[in-house]
Symmetry: C2
Subunit: 339 residues, 2 copies
């Protein structure tokens, strides 16, 4: 109810001067500025960001599209994004994109495009070229996180390399019977993360000259998922490998829990390695490759901010590959009968 005009009247200045005084842009004499500020404080004035956005064309709001909220990686990324964004004075509007294409189209057509957001950060979602084109044609920077996408800046780890590194660690310890418990290729997840990690796994095996047999199980990407499958797998001594390379730490933890329940000693009878460095990895002594989603989120925001500041030019497309850190803990060791 209190508009800029009221403040101006109260301070005895014009709207334009009041605007300048409050936004801090342009020339305003100090006493005038103070008068305006006092008036604004007195009637509890706050700008209407709608009105401001309308004329400036900027919303100071970033849209974030994400497939899950409730998984470690995504929640962590979101936290990183949120802190960085709020720090930069930006709002964060959240859209969860399910696999339903209809709902997906809706989010795009109905929400993202309406000049509500200045930029978009897509997490773990492979935007279609048409979607990217739509956003770009509106001059909105887009940054992807979780995998490489053509036509926009992205930030991610190298999934093939990560899986390979993890597998090589097991091989170097002397393991020959290694299995990979990774995500189902059909599970809702873009970027073929699952497929890539499987590729990296097999690459390492091939390089070491280990012949591949029954080396892969598809599991839900969660602790419970890893647990279920591992219970089955590990209870058959003939099937049981000496080491498991899990598609992510959650699966790895499920495997460890299952192994313990079956009376298997980790790492003596079974080595387990994951990827992520989940909050719980420390507690379970899990050897893993650390990726810091929280920092990735923060960096994604920085990329967006840079594009936003150099607006006009669509800024060079960057493809940032986040380095992984090997975290040695207690879940891997040499296999039982290693020579």
């Amino acid at each position: 109810m209190s508009a800029l005009a009221d403040v101006a009247r109260m301070a005895g200045v014009s709207k334009s001067t009041a605007s300048r005084a409050l936004s801090g842009a342009g020339y305003v004499a100090l006493p005038t500025r103070e008068r305006v500020e006092r008036a604004a404080a007195a009637i509890g004035y706050v700008v209407s960001s709608n009105a401001a956005s309308l004329v400036t064309g900027q919303t100071r709001n970033v849209g974030v599209v994400i497939p899950f909220i409730n998984r470690w990686f995504f929640a962590e990324v979101l936290e990183g994004i949120e802190s960085t964004l709020i720090h930069a004075g930006y709002d964060l509007t959240l859209y969860r994109l399910s696999s339903d294409p209809e709902q997906r189209r809706r989010v795009f057509d109905y929400f993202l495009v309406r000049k509500r957001v200045d930029a978009v950060i897509a997490i773990g979602i492979e935007l279609a070229p048409s979607e990217i084109g739509l956003l770009r044609s509106l001059g909105k920077p887009i940054v992807g996180l979780g995998g490489p996408i053509d036509g926009m800046s992205t930030l991610s780890i190298d999934d093939v390399e990560a899986a390979r590194l993890a597998t090589e660690h097991l091989i170097s310890l002397g393991h020959r019977r290694i299995m990979h418990l990774g995500g189902d290729q059909f599970e809702q997840m873009d970027f073929r993360v699952h497929a890539q990690r499987l590729t990296g796994f097999r690459l390492a095996l091939d390089e070491a000259g280990i012949e591949r047999g029954d080396d892969f199980r598809a599991v839900p990407f969660s602790i419970a998922g890893g647990y279920e499958v591992a219970r089955q797998l590990l209870s058959d001594p003939r099937l049981r490998p000496t080491a498991i390379m899990a598609g992510c730490d959650e699966i790895a933890i499920g495997v460890i829990v299952a192994a313990r329940e079956l009376g298997l000693d980790v790492p003596r009878q079974l080595s387990v390695i994951g990827i992520d460095d989940h909050d719980l990895a420390e507690m379970f002594g899990l050897t893993t490759l650390r990726q810091e989603p929280c920092r990735q989120g923060a960096r994604a925001v920085e990329l967006v901010m840079r594009e936003l500041s150099t607006s006009g030019e669509p800024a060079a497309i960057e493809r940032v590959v986040v380095p992984l850190v090997f975290v040695a803990r207690r879940s891997t060791t040499a296999p039982p009968h290693a020579g």
Copy 2:
């Protein structure tokens, strides 16, 4: 760049008619409407919600304030809110409120108030009367989730009752040496959830005439937190209780993991009960009290929507107490030497 005026010109009508045709409000002849719609589609027109908000005073956007994103309860609630909101055609703008009062004030003054949101949902955050007053004076509905707050509608479980129920279950099995591992009173969390659960716990003990000794440990509200403390606690056979009532499922799971590591049989040597029905509860066979945060989130949105639709009247303040469901699994049984 394409404004309503362009659509109007292209369709050969006035701005007002174009607006009516596209929004579907008011009289428009069918052929005219079709012409306008074709024109809009042709140039890829989308309304500017800023402009619309400016005149209607509605943003179709709800602000959600939340202290954590990556904890089960909060992530779950958030998912529930998001789906329901998007379904109702509303955006969700996310603000994480840390305990830092300065940052908190900033979020309020700088973000929430700026006419960017039509309503606010506060999760697990005890809004101060001044904050509530501020929001209410702007005519914005507020709904709280996670505990009762004066002056606004809220939705929550009865924490005292929950803890009492859980404890009574253990008592009814014959346990006498029961401990509560709950949240630290100083940990960042409003609503005194921790204190209330402790109260419920002791209430049940008192009612059963069990004298209280060393019956409580403060732990971080997480799996790792429960684990750490339980490792200490359970390794001393003289200290060790026959049952543990955990402040939440995450703590309970940490306790179970610790117990297993120490070679204790759950439930034979140690019964454990939690509160929540966490995703992992099933896997660990945890007996617990189910609260469905996802549904709570959905219901919170419904409350908000109701207030929004009957706008003008500040709608009666409701205090919804969400019922809990007892979920019996395998982590509780009679104590070892029960008569």
